[in-house]
Amino acid sequence: MYPAPFRYHRPMTLQDALLLLVRYAPNSAILAGGQSLIPLMNLRKVRPGTLIDIGRIPGLSRMSFSDGVFSVGAMVRHQSLCEGEVERLGLPICFLRVLKQIGSQIGNLAIRHRGTFGGSLALANPASQWTLLSVLLDANVVIASTRGTRRQRYADVLGPPAQTWLGPDEVVLGADMRLSNLNEVFGFAQVAPSAGRPAMAFSLVATQRDDDRILNCRIAIGACTPRPLRLYSLENELANSRRAWREDIALADIIRSEVGHLQMIEGTDCRYAREIAVAAITRALKQAMMQ
């Protein structure tokens, strides 16, 4: 399987990359890890005339944690968020654990060694784990073009399913995520047909609790919805009721009634997708409460 012919550029500086983008937009594509783009090109579902490989631009693989802000560069590989340097940044232990758990669910080891964080955000596939994380933590993405560098809430960058409002001359440089409360505990659950297959639903939860009572929480759901979403009314419901985790049958009912309003991704059996969503949220919440 060969992709349609294309020109290949490997700029060594960001400035060169941005100029190339202007020169070849809109018939160009940015090549980061290539683990989503190359399969699409092999199937000729996309046929960019020019590929701009940002893999050798220095500085895009950095990550840091300071003043409660976790910054991840666009070229940070999925696997780099699961092991190695990330463990030495001083991230809260519970967050680090869930980060590894989320990352290890992406594709498979070989894919995780190439695929990138920034690529996931820019492609905005509904089943991308990093989009879920970015929505839960209300990440700000750093976006560059020849017009300058700007920051925008990731939730505002997301467009229709698997699309963003990024311009054809723009490139994602990374994202900043604020871990506002270091006492938060996290839970993540993914439902997928088998290892390495895309998720049918996943949920990420951050809560503050007092023993087994939920004081406040943030809940995000994705993969089964056209884009990852925060479930604000469920969050308020759970926080206001100061509900104890033990009442988990009642909890599943509350979750079910909230999920009932959600629009599910096109082409799925909505009732089934909602049940999977309830399972994912319940498991994620349970994991957070059992920490």
């Binding site: 490997r10 700029p11 199937l43 080891l109 190439r114």
Partner: protein, 165 residues
């Protein structure tokens, strides 16, 4: 490489030897290694990154050679199943695969050898090793013998396997 043409020259280290080759931009590393460099262990299964048959080491890490353009490997260190971390290591893995009958048709085997090399270098616990092995598909569904071979390799570490040949 920056090119207005659809082809160009790249150089990379293949199993320890410097290679300079001319490639089309749209050639995958898997095709380049198999067709031009004579590395018969690199087999393209799905060209979608699903099956893992083309798994190789790029700078020591397992990756899908079908999802990497050959031009992206410029300057990298590439290892195929022909030459894993050491001849000893490869021989040990082969012996364990033979002992446990961890191959049937053999098409997926080179990809698994690469994963096993990675597992052994890192001395992963068996549950993590299983997770790594889940990266690749065996259409003969011979997963259990492969896991047994890996469990054997991880538990022996020493020379027991050497004595079994």
């Amino acid at each position: 490489m920056t090119t207005e043409q659809m082809s160009g020259h790249i150089s990379f280290k293949l199993n320890g030897r410097e290679q300079i080759v001319s490639v089309d931009t749209r050639t995958s590393l898997a095709d380049e290694l198999r067709e031009q460099c004579g590395m018969a262990s690199v087999r393209v299964g799905c060209a979608q990154g699903e099956c893992g048959t083309c798994t190789i080491l790029l700078d020591g890490m397992p990756i899908r050679a079908c999802l990497l353009l050959a031009v992206q490997a410029d300057g990298a260190h590439v290892q195929t199943a022909e030459a894993l971390s050491s001849p000893d290591m490869l021989a040990r893995i082969k012996r364990a695969f033979k002992k446990h009958k961890a191959l049937q048709c053999g098409y997926c085997t080179p990809g698994f050898l690469v994963l096993v090399d990675y597992i052994l270098r890192r001395a992963l616990p068996l549950d993590e090793a299983r997770h790594v092995l889940s990266s690749n598909l065996c259409r003969c569904t011979g997963y259990e013998p492969i896991v047994s071979a890996v469990a054997d390799l991880l538990s022996s570490r020493g020379d027991e396997l050497g004595e079994l040949q």
